[in-house]
């Protein structure tokens, strides 16, 4: 492979990794607050559609992005309602959310299939984009990729350097302790789920506004599930989520390249790669977690609903 091709591949990895990064960060925020959301796949699908439609109708990519985020928030609000108010099983609610979200995106999106939207264009960052190798890999993308550079830092900052983040983590580790400290763990959890939904929604918006620039069905393509797995891989840390997202972006970009290059490897086998990699990554992280036994990285009260007293 020529150096140009390798650089192009890396650049494509950064792009393909961005939506996964947003979704992974979103799920980290939600799980840090103690709520497992297996509906990410549905959230991504629906928000990709919402972003597309709004951008298509208003012509504003930014409004589209906002719509994607809000659609994610809204759908996760449903999860929050079912799990926090009605104490539904988080696993099952998440699955239902995926069915509902993916279905809704396809249903509402049918009239728009094949239609294009402008979305976000590529902007080369002045000066930085001229750095050899790194410039083309990192700094000749659309705005959302740059937003993706900031997002992990912002999430890390939120979780570790703000009182809101401290409370949110307490709600995920031990809701009773948060309550005894005068905080409202239910509200903190809801915030985590909704904010996480917003981030996942940004990931979904990326798919239609910056990745394809047109609407097709099945846009989410399992990325939501990859994100759920990457949270475990990342040990719930935003920094490691970046590594995971890049890894997956790389595999997806590689697989697309290979298909486009007219290889004689059947496409079904190539398409398996990301899913197989997900399983491998899970195995790898489980082994790592075992090595560092003792303090498990998962929030202690993850998946456990707060039951009413009395």
């Amino acid at each position: 492979m020529s150096p140009e091709l390798i650089i192009a591949l890396f650049a494509a990895a950064v792009q393909a990794g961005t939506p996964i990064l947003f979704a992974t960060l979103g799920e980290i925020v939600s799980e840090k607050a103690g709520v497992m959301n297996l509906g990410v796949e549905g959230v991504i699908a629906l928000s990709a559609f919402a972003a597309f439609v709004v951008c298509h109708l208003t012509g504003s990519a930014w409004l589209g992005l906002l719509a994607g985020g809000l659609a994610g928030t809204l759908l996760c609000g449903l999860h929050s309602l079912v799990c926090q108010v009605f104490l539904g099983n988080q696993v099952v609610s998440g699955l239902a959310l995926t069915l509902f979200g993916v279905g809704l995106a396809t249903f509402l999106g049918t009239p728009y299939v094949g239609q294009a939207t402008e979305g976000f264009g590529k902007i080369a960052v002045p000066l930085l984009s001229d750095i050899p190798v790194l410039g083309p890999i990192l700094f000749r993308h659309d705005t959302l990729v740059y937003l993706g550079y900031i997002a992990p830092v912002a999430v890390w900052f939120l979780l570790n350097r703000t009182s809101l983040g401290l409370g949110l983590r307490a709600a995920g580790e031990m809701p009773a302790a948060a309550a005894a400290a005068g905080l409202n763990p239910q509200r903190l959890r809801a915030f985590g789920v909704l904010a996480g939904g917003f981030l996942c929604g940004l990931g979904g918006a990326y798919l239609s506004l910056a990745h394809t620039h047109l609407w097709t069905t099945g846009l989410s393509g399992g990325r939501g599930w990859v994100a759920v797995a990457l949270v475990i891989f990342a040990f719930w840390r935003p920094g490691r989520a970046v590594i995971g997202a890049l890894l997956f972006g790389g595999v997806m970009a590689f697989q697309l390249r290979l298909q486009a290059s007219g290889t004689n490897i059947p496409s079904s086998l190539l398409l398996m790669l990301p899913y197989a990699l997900t399983v491998i990554v899970l195995v790898f992280s489980a082994a790592r977690a075992r090595e560092r036994s003792g303090a498990s990285a998962a929030p202690a009260a993850l998946g456990v609903n707060i039951e009413p007293e009395g």
Binding site: S163, E173, A178, A180, A181, G182, P299
Partner: protein, 526 residues
């Protein structure tokens, strides 16, 4: 201290539980020239038809340590939950520093200067000491970890409660965790500090340190409430004692008015209590458990033996290897080094060919999440350890299992009496009676009982003790307990554990050794 009137307490008389007198006393102590920090008047709380607190009147004075004494279920925790803003009273008034308050949330109670140290610490193990102390009190949206550590470190130093503010709470000992809880309250400048069974997890030395801290804080003008059912402790640390029984204040008096733990016990229970239980001697039989030089997994060279007809108590502060020992004896963990033989067989042989009947029964400390399945019916819970007795090949005789369950429920007075009830619907005492009944149904020759009476009221405790003593006729009992008096009541011999070692093993009749148990528990040999 001020000269307040404490005389005229009708409960000063030995047989004194007179419900009609309670309101008089409740307010009596509050009258003086110092304003009570907290005053409760006629506070009532119901859950369904259950009256958890019935017209409670109580004054909590600055600079005084008030002990609140009562059995489990007497309504202590409900009362405290109302003070902490978790429940709202149905009736009555709560005043803080003379002003009526109506807490809508724990936050408001905290703001009013009321702080709680819960029995089960409200600490996030995965966070640092500083984060825990400042949780909910960060004083700004943005956090500066270095500054947080400085603030908490300074606070710890000022009150003489040394701790590393950057340490992860999960890595701390129980005594240190309690210090974190106290620091939380001190940081919030709570004026009322409520301690719920604070010594349950402490060594005698740590408890002494805590008492010193309590006295120091009280000398600084804090009002302190000390909830306990350990009578000696209450007598040694409290200035005033209030007794809560069946949701009511049944007596309030000065600690100096009480002369002995027995007198206090009588006032607490409302009748003479058998603090001494009859135990007739049972002659020792064959060896049922022999542990030689067991090491690994937190254990160091543990040797002990147990014969039929004998109760051997393992005492020590929780987390000093008792659990590891139990797990080896009960077949959960394999012995790493050393020898364990059970009923004459080696560990491997015994657990390889283990039968359900006539062998080993384990009554774990966690009866709701380990010994029983919360969502299983009583019949299913019976089958949990006895299913082999009801199975023909794969076929399960459910009818006979139900019949047996009914018998166990009846014989052990387990309430409610229906066998379809699920484990979560039973109170701790009833569940324990059921578990004990089930395990004894297996006619074990070796019984491992962990904290069998923790959280039980006096009558349930008596029942459990009675059954354990009876079972000596056919079995040897390994009793793991943190309650020294329980150990001395029941056991023939006592082994003290500290950091995975047996610090001493001696008969309870050896008074010289028994005297030293406290220091042995803290790891001091001399």
């Amino acid at each position: 201290m001020d000269e307040r009137k404490h005389t005229g307490s009708p409960l000063g008389t030995p047989h004194g539980a007179r419900p009609d007198a309670r309101t008089d006393i409740g307010t009596d102590l509050g009258i003086g020239d110092v304003l009570p920090q907290v005053r409760l008047t006629g506070v009532t709380k119901r859950f369904g038809n259950v009256l958890a607190n019935d017209g409670i009147s109580l004054s909590i004075m600055p600079g005084r340590i008030k002990a609140l004494l009562g059995e489990n279920g007497a309504g202590k925790s409900t009362l405290m939950a109302m003070l902490a803003g978790r429940f709202k009273p149905d009736e009555g008034r709560i005043e803080v520093a003379g002003k009526a308050v109506d807490f809508a949330s724990p936050r408001e109670a905290i703001a009013a200067g009321i702080g709680m140290v819960y029995q089960h610490f409200m600490l996030v193990e995965n966070m640092t000491v500083a984060e825990n102390v400042l949780l909910g009190q960060e004083g700004g949206f943005f956090l500066n970890p270095a500054e947080m550590r400085r603030v908490v470190g300074g606070l710890a130093e000022r009150y003489g409660l040394p701790i590393d503010p950057g340490a992860r709470v999960g890595d701390l000992s129980m005594g240190e965790r309690q210090r974190v809880e106290i620091l939380k309250l001190l940081h919030r400048e709570s004026q009322v500090l409520i301690f719920d069974e604070p010594t349950a997890v402490l060594t005698p030395l740590e408890a002494e340190a805590l008492f010193a801290a309590l006295r120091a804080m009280s000398a600084q003008g804090k009002a302190i409430v000390f909830i306990s059912h350990k009578l000696e402790e209450v007598l040694s640390v409290a200035d005033e004692i209030a007794i809560l029984r069946r949701g009511r204040i049944e007596g309030e008096f000065l600690a100096s008015e009480v002369h002995s733990p027995a007198e206090l016990a009588r006032r607490m229970v409302g009748r003479d209590v058998v603090l001494e239980i009859d135990r007739d001697e049972v002659s020792a039989g064959r060896m049922v458990l022999d542990v030689k030089h067991l090491s690994g997994e937190g254990l160091e060279d543990v040797s002990l033996d147990l014969k039929r007809g004998e109760i051997l108590a393992i005492v020590g502060v929780a987390g000093n290897g008792q659990q590891q020992l139990v797990e080896v004896v009960c077949g959960i963990a394999e012995p790493q080094a050393g020898e364990v033989s059970i009923l004459g067989k080696s560990w491997a042989d015994f657990f390889h060919s283990r039968g359900w009947k006539g062998e080993l029964a384990w009554i774990p400390e966690d009866r709701a999440g380990l010994a029983t399945g919360r969502g299983l019916s009583l019949t299913d819970n019976l089958l949990l350890t006895t299913r082999e007795g009801f199975a023909h090949g794969q076929w399960l005789e459910r009818g006979r299992a139900s019949e047996t369950t009914r018998g166990i429920v009846r014989d052990n007075d387990v309430r409610p009496g229906r066998i379809e009830a699920q484990a979560w619907q039973l109170s701790g005492g009833n569940l324990q009676k059921f578990v004990l009944g089930r395990e004894l149904y297996r006619e074990p020759r070796l019984i491992v009982a962990e904290q069998p009476t923790q959280g039980l009221d006096v009558s349930a405790t008596e029942a459990v003790w009675q059954r354990l003593l009876e079972s000596r006729r056919t079995a040897g009992v390994l009793l793991v307990t943190g309650d020294l008096s329980e150990a001395l009541q029941l056991a023939d011999r006592v082994a003290v554990m500290f950091r995975g070692r047996v610090m001493g093993l001696f008969p309870v009749t050896d008074t010289a050794q028994v005297e030293r148990i406290g220091s042995l528990m803290a790891g001091l040999r001399d």
